[in-house]
C-alpha cells in the first residue's frame, strides 16, 4: 500500500508542478495589481515603490524562480489585499468548502444509491420511470439557476431558511441541497444501470439457485459489485464541488475556497490564487487516494495490483 501511495504521489507531483507553472503565468496575464491597489492618478514613483515592495519589478523569470524557491517551504507569500500569508487565508476557507462537499456528496450518494437500487429492482416499473425522469432533470439543472430559485422560493417566499450565512445548521440546508442535486441525479443513473447489469450477472443466478432471498441478492450480492462505478462518479463529482463551489459560495455568502479564489482573481491577488490552486489540487489528490482505498476495500481483485 505504501509503495502504491508513493507511486501515486510521484505521478501527481508531476502534474502539480505543471499546474503551478500554468497558474503562475496565467494569473499575471490579468494585468498589474498596481492598477487596482493604487489610486488611478498615482505617480510613477508610487507605482515603482509598490512593485518593488511586492517583487513585481524583477524580471518574470526571477519572480518565477523566487516563487519556486518559496514553494519548497510551502510559502506562497502574503496576500496583497489582506497583508496576511496567502496559505493561512486558503486554509481558513478550506474547511467550509470541504464540509460543503462532504455533506453534498454524502447525501447525494446515500439517496442516489438507494433510489438506483430500488429502480433496478423492476426496470421500467413505475418507480423506475419516475426515478429515471427525476434523475435526468436533476442531472441537467444548472447550479446557479437552482440556487437562485431556491433562494427565491425557500428563503424569500416561504422564509423556511435564511438567504445566506454559515452560522447555523439551517443555513447549510439550501447550499448543500443545491450542490447535491446534480451529483445525485448522475449517481442515480449510474447506480441504476450498473445494478441492472449486475443483477443479470452469473453470480446472481448462483445466489438464486442457493435460495438467497431477493432482498439479500440486491443489497448484499449486487450492490457491493455495483458500487465501483458509483464511487468513481461520486469521486469525480466531489472533486467538481471542491473546485466548483464558486457559484454556490458566492450566492449564499459562504466563506469557502471558491469565493476566496474569485475575489483574489478580481483583485489580482497572485499569492492567494497560487496558494488556492495548489491546496485545492492537493485536496483533490487526497480525494483520489481515498477513492483508491475505497476501491481496494470494495473489490478484492484490485488489491493485488
Amino acid at each position: 500500500m505504501t509503495g502504491f501511495l508513493g507511486k501515486r504521489m510521484l505521478w501527481s507531483a508531476g502534474s502539480l508542478i505543471g499546474l503551478v507553472i500554468l497558474v503562475f503565468f496565467m494569473a499575471r496575464l490579468t494585468g498589474s495589481p498596481a492598477d487596482l491597489y493604487l489610486p488611478i492618478d498615482a505617480p510613477n514613483e508610487m507605482r515603482e515603490e509598490f512593485a518593488r515592495l511586492h517583487g513585481f519589478d524583477l524580471p518574470l523569470w526571477q519572480q518565477f524562480a523566487n516563487f519556486l524557491r518559496d514553494l519548497l517551504v510551502f510559502d506562497f507569500g502574503d496576500s496583497l489585499r489582506q497583508g496576511r500569508p496567502a496559505v493561512d487565508l486558503v486554509l481558513e476557507a478550506l474547511p467550509t468548502t470541504l464540509l460543503l462537499a462532504f455533506w453534498s456528496i454524502g447525501i447525494a450518494l446515500m439517496v442516489a444509491v438507494i433510489t438506483g437500487a430500488l429502480a433496478a429492482w423492476r426496470p421500467n416499473g413505475i418507480f423506475d420511470r419516475i426515478a429515471t425522469l427525476l434523475s435526468l432533470i436533476g442531472a441537467s439543472l444548472p447550479n446557479f439557476w437552482v440556487a437562485i430559485v431556491g433562494v427565491l422560493v425557500f428563503a424569500v417566499q416561504l422564509r423556511w431558511v435564511p438567504t445566506s450565512g454559515t452560522g447555523t445548521v439551517v443555513q447549510w440546508v439550501l447550499p448543500v441541497a443545491v450542490l447535491a442535486i446534480r451529483p445525485c441525479g448522475l449517481i442515480v443513473q449510474v447506480a441504476r444501470s450498473t445494478m441492472i447489469s449486475v443483477l443479470s450477472a452469473p453470480y446472481v443466478k448462483t445466489a438464486e439457485a442457493k435460495g438467497v432471498p431477493r432482498r439479500a441478492i440486491i443489497f448484499v450480492h449486487a450492490l457491493r459489485n455495483a458500487m465501483l462505478p458509483v464511487i468513481t462518479v461520486a469521486g469525480d463529482q466531489a472533486a467538481g464541488i471542491i473546485n466548483g463551489a464558486v457559484i454556490v459560495e458566492t450566492i449564499f455568502g459562504f466563506p469557502g475556497v471558491g469565493r476566496l479564489m474569485i475575489d483574489s482573481i478580481s483583485y489580482r491577488d497572485f499569492a492567494v490564487i497560487q496558494a488556492g490552486v495548489m491546496i485545492t489540487a492537493i485536496a483533490i489528490f487526497l480525494l483520489n487516494v481515498l477513492i483508491d482505498i475505497a476501491y481496494a476495500l470494495l473489490d478484492p481483485r484490485t488489491r493485488a495490483a
Binding site: 452469473p202 453470480y203 448462483t206 435460495g211 478484492p300 481483485r301
Partner: protein, 548 residues
C-alpha cells in the same frame, strides 16, 4: 420401477419473447431422473438443453421467458407453480445447481468461505455452525488448507478449484438432486476428469440424483447412466447410455456420434517435404513482481527450450493444458512477442532479425485464425471489408478491381453464400464466423496458417465441418497448419505430427500415430487417460476415492 422417479419433467414448453418475436426455446420436453443415477442431457448450442433445468430451478427470467405448458414433479410437488417462498425452500436445500464458468458464477467481492456458508445460512443453519461445516465441505471437495483459505476470494483460486468450491456450495445442504450445467467445459481435461469423478463420488455418498448437462459426447459416455439427446428444443432420443451409443435410434444422434472426432486413421507426415519453419531453443521468461516490495521478482519461463520444425503441407498439432505455454509459443511464432533467447527461422531467415520489408513479406506468408471469431472479427465491418482489409494493407497482393470477385470466390470456398458479403459478423452463426476468419486468413495466399484453438468453441458437428474445410484447403494449396488445441481427439484426426507441451517445455513430439498409440512421456499418458472417449464400453473402473 418400484420407486417413483425423483424428478419428472413432463411436456415442458418454454417461449422467449424478444423484440416482437416469439422463440420456442423448448417444446414438449419430458425426462426423468432417479435417485443415485446420472442423467445426461446432451445437445449442441441452441438445442435448449439448459432450459428445462432452468425452469426446474425457477431461473427463467420472465419476461422475456414464459413457461407455456408442462409440469415438473418433484416429490409430489409441481415445481413450476411454486410461490417465491416455496421456491426458496427448494433451491439450494432440495435441489442445487452448479454452472459453467465458476469464476463468473462466484461473487467476486466475497470470500469463498462466506459464500459456501451462505448456502447454509439462508436455510436456517446458525452462522458459526455454517462456517464450521463450510471448512469441512471445502476439505471434502479437495481444497488444500481449507480452513486457512476460507477468507480467500474466488480470483485467488484455479479454475478447477473454483468449480470444487461451487460443488461444495451446492452439496452443502445435502440436496436430493444436483443439476450440473456444463460443469467442466472451460476446464483442462485432467481437471475435468477430477471434477466429474468428484461429482460421481458425492452422488454415491449421498444417493442424490445428478443431471449432467453437456455438449461433450465423451463426458456422457464416461460418466452418465442414462441420456437425453436434444435438438432444436426437442428431445429426439432417450435411453441408457450404452444402448444409445451402440444403436442410436434417431438420425441426429447417429450424425452426432459420427461427427465425434478420434476415429480416423492416423495421418503420416511426409519427412521429405521442404522445411518452412525451424524453431531452436526458444525461451520466453516473464518476471513476476513479488507481492511485497522486498520479495525478489520471480522468473517464470512460459517457454523453456522449445525446438521443432514445420514442413510444407503438414499439420503440426500442439497440445497442452492451460498454462503450458501454447499461447506464448503462438505469439512468438507470429512475431507478436520477442523470445528471451532462441531463434525462429522462416525459410532459413531469422524472423527476429528481419528488415522492415522482410517482416512485411513474412506477415503475408504466415496467417492466423483465433479461437473466438466473435472477438477477432470487427463487428462494425462487413464481411467484404474484413476479408478485403488484407489487400488494402498488402496492395501488391491483388489489384483493386479484382477484389470484389476474390471475396466472393473466397466465401464460396469456405462454404458461405457470396451474396452475404455485405453482412456484418453478428448476422452469422459461430461456425460461419470461423469460416469468415478462415477466408480472411486465406486472402493473402499464405504458406502457413496458425490456428490457435480455432475449433474449440464450436459444436461437435460444426467442428467436424470446419476441420473438413481446413483439410480441403490444405490439399488444394499445400498449406501448412500449426494447430494449437487442447482437444486431443481433434488433433488426433487432423495432425501429421504432434507436440505435447507441459509447463513451457515440449515433453514429447513425434508422428501422431506414435504419440497417441505409444506415448513415451508420463504426462502424455496422463493427458490421454484423462481425455474422455466417446465410447461407453471403454469406461475405466474407478476405485473409490481415486484422484487423477
Amino acid at each position: 420401477m418400484a420407486e417413483p422417479a425423483l424428478l419428472t419433467v413432463e411436456n415442458l414448453s418454454v417461449e422467449f419473447h424478444a423484440r416482437g418475436k416469439i422463440v420456442q426455446a423448448v417444446r414438449n420436453v419430458s425426462w426423468q431422473v432417479n435417485r443415485g443415477e446420472t442423467l445426461a442431457i446432451l445437445g449442441e448450442s441452441g438445442s435448449g438443453k439448459s432450459v428445462s433445468s432452468s425452469a426446474v430451478m425457477g431461473l427463467i427470467d420472465s419476461p422475456p421467458g414464459h413457461i407455456t405448458a408442462g409440469r415438473a414433479l418433484f416429490q409430489g410437488q409441481d415445481l413450476l407453480t411454486l410461490t417465491k417462498d416455496e421456491r426458496r425452500e427448494i433451491n439450494g436445500r432440495r435441489i442445487a445447481m452448479i454452472f459453467q464458468d465458476p469464476l463468473a458464477h462466484l461473487n467476486p467481492v466475497y470470500p469463498v468461505g462466506w459464500q459456501v456458508a451462505e448456502a447454509m445460512r439462508v436455510h436456517g443453519v446458525p452462522p458459526s455452525e455454517a462456517r464450521a461445516r463450510a471448512v469441512a465441505l471445502l476439505e471434502r471437495v479437495g481444497i488444500p488448507h481449507a480452513a486457512a483459505r476460507m477468507n480467500a476470494y474466488p480470483h485467488e483460486f484455479s479454475g478447477g478449484q473454483r468449480q470444487r468450491i461451487m460443488i461444495a456450495m451446492a452439496v452443502a445442504m445435502k440436496p436430493d438432486l444436483l443439476i450440473a450445467d456444463e460443469p467442466t467445459t472451460a476446464l483442462d481435461v485432467t481437471v475435468q476428469a477430477q471434477i466429474l469423478t468428484l461429482l460421481s463420488e458425492l452422488r454415491d455418498e449421498t444417493g442424490m440424483g445428478l443431471v449432467l448437462i453437456t455438449h461433450d459426447l465423451g463426458v456422457v459416455a464416461q460418466h452418465a447412466d442414462r441420456m437425453v439427446v436434444m435438438k432444436d428444443g426437442e428431445v429426439v432420443e432417450t435411453g441408457r447410455v450404452a444402448d444409445v451409443f451402440r444403436a442410436p435410434a434417431h438420425d441426429y444422434t447417429r450424425r452426432l456420434l459420427g461427427a465425434a472426432p478420434g476415429k480416423l486413421p492416423f495421418r503420416v507426415p511426409d519427412e521429405a517435404a521442404e522445411l518452412l519453419l525451424e524453431v531452436q531453443g526458444l525461451v520466453k521468461s516473464f518476471h513476476l513482481r513479488g507481492r511485497f516490495l522486498r520479495e525478489a521478482a520471480r522468473e517464470v519461463r512460459a517457454l523453456d527450450g522449445v525446438s521443432f520444425a514445420l514442413r510444407k503441407g503438414e499439420t503440426l498439432g500442439i497440445v497442452g493444458e492451460s498454462g503450458s505455454g501454447k499461447t506464448t509459443l503462438a505469439r512468438v511464432l507470429l512475431r507478436l512477442m520477442e523470445p528471451s533467447s532462441g531463434s525462429v527461422r522462416y525459410r532459413g531467415q531469422d524472423v527476429f532479425a528481419m528488415s522492415k520489408e522482410q517482416v512485411f513479406a513474412f506477415r503475408r506468408r504466415v496467417q492466423v485464425v483465433f479461437q473466438d471469431p466473435t472477438a477477432s472479427l470487427n463487428p462494425r465491418m462487413t464481411v467484404e471489408e474484413i476479408i478485403g482489409e488484407h489487400w488494402a494493407i498488402h496492395p501488391e497482393a491483388l489489384p483493386a478491381e479484382g477484389r470484389r470477385a476474390a471475396v466472393e470466390k473466397l466465401l464460396v470456398q469456405v462454404g458461405l453464400d457470396p451474396a452475404h458479403a455485405r453482412r456484418h459478423p453478428h448476422q452469422f452463426s459461430g461456425g460461419q464466423r470461423q469460416r469468415i476468419a478462415i477466408a480472411r486468413a486465406l486472402s493473402l495466399k499464405p504458406e502457413v496458417i496458425l490456428c490457435d484453438e480455432a475449433v474449440s468453441a464450436l459444436d461437435v458437428s460444426v467442428q467436424a465441418q470446419v476441420i473438413e474445410l481446413l483439410k480441403d484447403i490444405q490439399k488444394q494449396y499445400g498449406l501448412s497448419f500449426i494447430f494449437i488445441a487442447h482437444d486431443l481427439p481433434v488433433v488426433r484426426d487432423f495432425a501429421d505430427r504432434v507436440l505435447v507441451m507441459h509447463r513451457g517445455q515440449i515433453v514429447e513430439q513425434g508422428p501422431t500415430g506414435a504419440v497417441f498409440t505409444a506415448p513415451q512421456a508420463d504426462y502424455t499418458r496422463t493427458l490421454l487417460a484423462a481425455s474422455p472417449k466417446a465410447d461407453p464400453t471403454h469406461r475405466p473402473q474407478r476405485r473409490a476415492g481415486e484422484r487423477l
